[in-house]
C-alpha cells in the first residue's frame, strides 16, 4: 500500500467520464479540421450502430437464457388442449427452431416490428407508441427542471464553497440522492394525496387525468396530476448534476484566467457567469446525456408508483407476466435511447470544446 504515491493519480468518476467524452486529442493537423471532425463523427456513429445491433442481439438471447415455455405463462395454468397450445405457439412463432426465431426477430425489428404482446394481444410497437407521449411529457418536464436546478445550485454552492449554504445544499442533495425514488413517491402520495392528520388530500393519487375534461381545463388537470411525480423525479435526480457542476466549477476556481478577469476589474458575477461557468459546464454537459440511464430508472419506478400511463408503467405491467416481447422491446428501446443520446453528446462535444478532438 503505497498510499503516498496515489493521491494525485486517483480520478473521480466524473473526471474519468469527462476524459472519455472526448476523443483522443490531437487528431489531424489544423488545416484539415473539418475533415478530421467528420471522420471522428463517422467513427462515433458507426460505433453506435454496432452497439445498437449488439443490444438487439442481446435483447433476443437474454430473454431466452432460461428455457421456459411462454405459452404456459400465457394460459396461466388453465387447462387447455394440446391443439390450442400448438395454435398459440404457431401464432407467436415459438414452434420455429431458435436460429429461425432469431433471424425473424432481427428482420422484424429492423422494420420496426417487435412482435405481439402476450398479455395485451396487440402489437408491441402499438403499445409503446401509445405510452410514449405520457412518458415524454413527465420525464421531459422533470429532466429540464432537475438539470436547471442542479446547475443553478451547483454554481451557487461552488462559488461560495465552504459556507453555510454550500454545506446545507450539499448535505441535502446527498441525502435526497440516497432516497429510493419509489419510496419518496409513496410517501408524497400518503401525505399530499391521501392526507395525513390536518393535511387534506391536495393532489390526485395517480394517473394522468381525471377524465371528462376538455380544452384548458384538461391541461390544468394533467398539470395537477403531474406535480407529485415531477417533484419525486426532480428530488432524486438533481443531486448528481449539482455535485458534478460543483466539483467542476471548483476545479476552475483556482485558474489563472479567473484571476486575470478579476484583475481587469470585472464584477464578481460577470466573472462567474461569463468566464467560470461556461468552462465548468463542459463536464456537466456530458453528464446530462449519461444521466439518461438514471432517468430511465426513475421513470420506471415513479410511473409505477403514480400509475402514470407511460413506458415505465407499461414495463412494470409487462414484468408481471413476464410478457417477454414487451419487456424485450422496451429493453431495446431504452438502451437505444441512451446509446443515441451518448453518441449525440460525443459528436457535439468537440463543437463545444475546441480543445478536444480537432
Amino acid at each position: 500500500m503505497t498510499a503516498e504515491s496515489t493521491p494525485a493519480l486517483v480520478h473521480s468518476a466524473e473526471a474519468d467520464g469527462l476524459a472519455d467524452a472526448g476523443p483522443s486529442a490531437g487528431r489531424g493537423p489544423r488545416a484539415r479540421n473539418t475533415k478530421a471532425y467528420l471522420r471522428y463523427a463517422a467513427t462515433k456513429i458507426l460505433g453506435a450502430a454496432v452497439s445498437l445491433f449488439a443490444v438487439l442481439v442481446t435483447s433476443f438471447f437474454l430473454f431466452r437464457l432460461i428455457p421456459s415455455d411462454p405459452v404456459k405463462h400465457m394460459t396461466g395454468g388453465r387447462p387447455i388442449s394440446s391443439e390450442q397450445l400448438e395454435n398459440l405457439r404457431r401464432e407467436f412463432g415459438l414452434d420455429q427452431p431458435m436460429w429461425q426465431q432469431f433471424l425473424d426477430y432481427i428482420g422484424d425489428a429492423l422494420t420496426g416490428d417487435f412482435g405481439m404482446s402476450y398479455q395485451f394481444h396487440a402489437p408491441v410497437m402499438e403499445k409503446i407508441t401509445a405510452a410514449l407521449p405520457a412518458t415524454l411529457l413527465l420525464t421531459g418536464t422533470a429532466y429540464i427542471l432537475f438539470t436547471a436546478l442542479g446547475l443553478w445550485l451547483g454554481t451557487r454552492t461552488a462559488w461560495k464553497h465552504g459556507g453555510k449554504g454550500d454545506r446545507f445544499n450539499s448535505a441535502l442533495a446527498l441525502t435526497l440522492y440516497s432516497v429510493p425514488s419509489f419510496w419518496l413517491g409513496l410517501l408524497l402520495i400518503i401525505v399530499f394525496s391521501v392526507g395525513v392528520g390536518p393535511i387534506p388530500g391536495l393532489f390526485p393519487t395517480g394517473g394522468l387525468e381525471s377524465g371528462g375534461e376538455t380544452g384548458f381545463a384538461y391541461v390544468v388537470d394533467v398539470a395537477h396530476h403531474m406535480i407529485l411525480p415531477v417533484i419525486t423525479l426532480v428530488a432524486v435526480g438533481y443531486a448528481q448534476t449539482l455535485l458534478v457542476m460543483r466539483s467542476s466549477l471548483l476545479d476552475e476556481m483556482g485558474s489563472d484566467y479567473l484571476t486575470t478577469a478579476r484583475a481587469k476589474g470585472l464584477r464578481d458575477d460577470v466573472v462567474r457567469r461569463r468566464h467560470a461557468v461556461p468552462n465548468a459546464l463542459l463536464p456537466t454537459f456530458t453528464l446530462m446525456f449519461v444521466n439518461l440511464g438514471h432517468v430511465v430508472a426513475g421513470q420506471i419506478l415513479v410511473e409505477t408508483v403514480f400509475s402514470w400511463p407511460g413506458l415505465g408503467g407499461l414495463f412494470y405491467e409487462a414484468l408481471a407476466g413476464p410478457d417477454l416481447p414487451l419487456v424485450q422491446a422496451l429493453f431495446f428501446f431504452w438502451a437505444a435511447a441512451v446509446i443515441l443520446a451518448n453518441t449525440l453528446a460525443d459528436v457535439l462535444y468537440p463543437l463545444l470544446d475546441p480543445r478536444v478532438g480537432r
Binding site: 486517483v10 430473454f63 432460461i66 441525502t175 432516497v179 419510496w183 414484468l319
Partner: protein, 320 residues
C-alpha cells in the same frame, strides 16, 4: 512469478517508525509496519472529515443491530403463522411501528431486513468491484486488440441503462437473493473498470514497472504485485460508493417483486406495504421506516466513500 519480489528485501527506508526489534526485521514485519503507518496516516486525515465520521458511526451501529437481530427482536418474528398482533395495527407500546398485514411487528421486520439489505449490498458491491478491477487491470496492462475489445465491451455496458439490465436479468432467472446479487454485480462494474484502467495505465508508465520487467517479472507478477497494490486505495473508495448504489438497487428490485418473496428485506417490506393498501389507508408508519432505513444506510456509505475519496485525492473539494 513465484520468487519473492526483490524490492521487499531492500534495506529499510529512512522514514521507518522507531523500531522495537530493528535487528530482527523480516520483510513481512517491514511490510506490516509500513501498512500500519499508512493506515495511521489515513485515519488521521479521515478523522478531519466530520461527515465521514458520521457515516462510519451510523454504519457501525446498523451493522451491530443487524448482527444482533435474533437477540434484539427474537428469531421467530418473521413467521407469518404465529404472528403476535392483529393485522395492520396502529403503533402502540407493544408494536412501536404497528404491525403488517399478517400481524407481525414492523419494527422487528425492519431489524431483520437490515441483514438482507447489508448482505446483498456488500456482496453485490464486492462482485461488481472484483469484475471491474479484473477487467480494468487486464485492459490496462495488455495493449493491443485484446484490451481494445475489453474496453469496447466495458463502454457498451456503461451506456446500458443499469436498472433495466438488472431487471431483465432478474426476470429471466429464479427469484432468489443470489439472483439479485448477480444481477447488480454484473451490471454495475464498468465504472470501476474504467477507473481502475486509468489508474493501471498511470502506474504502468512508472520506471519501477520497467525495472520489474527487466528483472524478469512476468505479466502475472506485475499485475498482482505491482499494479494491484497501487490501485487498491482507489478500489476501496469505489467499493464504498458502489455499496450504497447496490443497496438502493436491491431495494428497487425487491420492490418490483424480483427478489425472493420469502425473505424480509426493506424493499420487499415496501412492496408488501403497497400491496396491502398501506398507501390508500394512510398507514405512513408502515411505509416510512423501511425507506428511511434504506436512505440512512445508502447515505452512510456515500459519506464514507466520499471521505475516503477526498483523503486519497484532496483536489476533489469534498465538504468536510
Amino acid at each position: 512469478m513465484t520468487a519473492e519480489p526483490p524490492m521487499t528485501t531492500q534495506p529499510p527506508r529512512t522514514a521507518e517508525p522507531p523500531a522495537k526489534a530493528a535487528a530482527a526485521r523480516s520483510p513481512r514485519a517491514l511490510k506490516a509496519a509500513r501498512m500500519r503507518q499508512s493506515f495511521v496516516r489515513f485515519w488521521k486525515e479521515y478523522r478531519t472529515h466530520r461527515s465521514g465520521l458520521w457515516g462510519l458511526g451510523a454504519l457501525v451501529l446498523i451493522a451491530l443491530i443487524a448482527l444482533a437481530a435474533p437477540l434484539l427482536v427474537g428469531a421467530d418474528s418473521e413467521s407469518v403463522t404465529d404472528a403476535p398482533g392483529l393485522p395492520m395495527e396502529d403503533p402502540s407500546g407493544e408494536f412501536p411501528l404497528g404491525t403488517d398485514q399478517f400481524g407481525r411487528s414492523v419494527l422487528a421486520l425492519l431489524v431483520w431486513g437490515a441483514r438482507v439489505s447489508l448482505t446483498v449490498g456488500l456482496l453485490a458491491a464486492f462482485l461488481c468491484v472484483a469484475i471491474g478491477t479484473l477487467v480494468g487491470i487486464v485492459a490496462g496492462h495488455f495493449k493491443g486488440w485484446f484490451a481494445t475489445v475489453l474496453m469496447r465491451i466495458t463502454d457498451w455496458f456503461l451506456v446500458m441503462p443499469t436498472l433495466v439490465l438488472a431487471i431483465a436479468l432478474a426476470t429471466v432467472m429464479d427469484r432468489s437473493m443470489w439472483t439479485v446479487i448477480l444481477a447488480i454485480g454484473v451490471t454495475t462494474w464498468p465504472t470501476t473498470a474504467r477507473l481502475v484502467r486509468a489508474q493501471t495505465l498511470a502506474v504502468e508508465s512508472r520506471p519501477y514497472i520497467e525495472r520489474a520487467r527487466a528483472l524478469g517479472g512476468g505479466h502475472g507478477h506485475i499485475m498482482l504485485r505491482h499494479v494491484l497494490p497501487n490501485v487498491m486505495p482507489l478500489v476501496l473508495a469505489q467499493t464504498t460508493l458502489v455499496i450504497s448504489s447496490a443497496i438502493l438497487t436491491e431495494s428497487t428490485l425487491a420492490f418490483l417483486g424480483l427478489s425472493d418473496p420469502t425473505i424480509t428485506s426493506w424493499g420487499g417490506m415496501l412492496q408488501d406495504a403497497r400491496e396491502a393498501g398501506a398507501v390508500s389507508a394512510g398507514h405512513w408508519w408502515y411505509l416510512a421506516p423501511p425507506g428511511l432505513a434504506i436512505a440512512a444506510v445508502a447515505l452512510a456509505f456515500t459519506l464514507c466513500g466520499r471521505a475516503v475519496e477526498s483523503v486519497l485525492n484532496p483536489r476533489l473539494g469534498v465538504a468536510r
